[in-house]
Amino acid sequence: MSGQTLFQKLWDAHVVHVEPDGQTLLYIDRHLVHEVTSPQAFEGLKLARRMPRRVDAAVAVPDHNVPTTDRSKGIADPIARLQVETLDANCAEFGIREFRMDDVRQGIVHVIGPEEGLTLPGMTVVCGDSHTATHGAFGALAHGIGTSEVEHVLATQTLIQKKSKNMKVEITGKLRPGVTAKDITLAVIGKTGTAGGTGYVIEYCGEAIRDLSMEGRMTVCNMAIEGGARAGLIAPDEKTFAYCMGRPHAPKGAAWEAALAWWKTLYTDEGAHFDKVVTIRGEDIEPVVTWGTSPEDVLPIGATVPHPEDFTGGKVGAAQRSLEYMGLTPGMKLTDITIDAVFIGSCTNGRIEDLRAAAAVLKGRKIAPGVRGMVVPGSGLVRAQAEAEGLAQIFLDAGFEWRMAGCSMCLAMNPDQLAPEERCASTSNRNFEGRQGYRGRTHLMSPAMAAAAAVTGHLTDVRELMGETV
């Protein structure tokens, strides 16, 4: 018998019941809850007079709607305020642990899960948020669900699933200086397309992935959904275990040893079958940016804006529409694109390592005149650590705003938004039309690249600035 993939092992460990046609009731170990996708689920539970099955498996945090400026006055927008208050009330009513807006541990749900040790290897993790794929960096089977499924998990602690296909994405060799986890994940999407991963769980592997820190691995898995895959996975290793050890909700003592023994079996066996394999040489990955309105619109920073006729099929019209929306001329150099704003943060790049990478570029430098810069740490604890490490001061000295934790301008539900036609160098995950504000224009990139753009005022190859700082 050939070996098993990591996905197969995680799946098998969570099967509650299988129907003859393969439809499976899958057990869910951890349910992360936030304010936007949960109110209708709680309402549904109450209407059906059902109770949550395991409140200890759930944890909640408000993140999408929270202000990132002074919070002492609460949330100004009454509709957003009601949504956060509804989360507070639902958690209080059912006894679900919640990190409220005034708790230092509050932050983006996908940052605080790992930070608190609530995300652990071998778990199944769900959240009513597509970026739940992030937690796959720990070797947890983690994916985003809709609100009806949030209600299903609350009521039954299970999900109805059919097993996905399994894709291996291998990044071989070493990354070159200036190339980061964000460049890997964007390069993969650039290669496979936004629908390339549809129906698959992706396992990322290879030397370049192993070399990444846990933060970097989270960045890679976070954007699996942008490639169409509901879940991304990376096999846990010593770095994973070291990250988890001692976290508030990680097991301790004998329980830790028992957990560790199982976690060490969570890898893809030699010769295991994948339905699809994609291989990219780490050395071939350049610092990249997006030019259009789909995360697959990825190009190395040294490239030029494409022509619609470079594409085929439905993508021709989409490229035309993207170029008009983005206000770009085919053939222009990407490095000639000037920017109005820089956003550093999000569940993709709002962790301490991301802030360190941006600060390394910004140290001793100033943001270009006329450019607005915003740093939004992924959690209150990341914010505190960045302040302790002196990073906050570097951002402030450079002319950035230093904000409180939340989703902020990644999706711009709160007041942190671009104005129409404002152009942003952003470390977030989606460059969709209107994503960061009505008619706003987003270029996705790594924190180091965003910092470089902040300094020069246009999209910039960070390697040109690195000689002086590294």
Partner: protein, 201 residues
């Protein structure tokens, strides 16, 4: 949940690829704590200008599509955010079926929970139905879930695949939580086993 059996109606053409859930329902409207009332904001940024006036060119603002019940769309419809507000908005507008060559997984699942049938067909079939859709009232399309066939206005039939369980729930308007709770003894047994095997969870 509303049952879905058969549907004959006008289809609106949206040939754009990668229509994401931010387009279907912008984040501004996700602050609601209700499921209903999102239809007026479906495709909001494509449908209205900044002052809230309708943009006449947008397909759902054209007289023949204002009561469309079917969308025929480009590849990878529903990509991006997991927001179930997207199918809620479609349903509230009156859309009961979306036809495309491919859908994003989370959106696809969310449709079935809300009485909307997403139909995957090959590119030639979608092109044929897209052509029908451009004819508005003059080319109504029929979607029959029981026999799993879409019939174009010229009688051409396109069979489609659908998961048997999802079909059963949709045809009968069933709540799948109720069905899963029938397996409560299996869940109990799993939890008892996990307690010894994975005591830290």
């Amino acid at each position: 949940m509303k049952k879905f059996t058969t549907l004959t109606g006008v289809a609106a053409p949206m040939p754009l690829v990668n229509i994401d859930t931010d387009m279907i329902i912008p984040k501004l409207f996700l602050k609601t704590i209700q499921r209903s009332g999102l239809g007026k904001n479906l495709f909001d940024e494509m449908r209205y200008d900044r002052q809230g006036n309708e943009i006449p060119d947008f397909v759902l603002n054209q007289p023949q599509y204002r009561k469309a019940q079917i969308l025929v769309a480009g590849d990878n419809f529903g990509c991006g955010s997991s927001r179930e507000h997207a199918p809620w908005a479609l349903l509230d507008f009156g859309i009961r079926c979306v036809i495309s060559t491919s859908f994003a997984d989370i959106f696809f699942n969310n449709c079935f929970k809300n009485g909307i049938l997403p139909v995957v067909l090959p590119p030639e079939a979608v092109a044929h139905l897209m052509d029908d859709a451009t004819k508005g009232e003059n080319a109504r399309i029929t979607v029959d879930l029981e026999s799993q066939v879409v019939t174009a206005s010229d009688g051409t039939q396109f069979p489609f695949e659908v998961d048997a369980f999802k079909k059963h729930c949709l045809m009968n308007g069933l709540d799948d939580i109720g069905l899963s709770l029938e397996k409560v003894s299996a869940i109990d047994a799993f939890e008892a086993r996990a307690k010894t095997q994975f005591p830290w969870l």
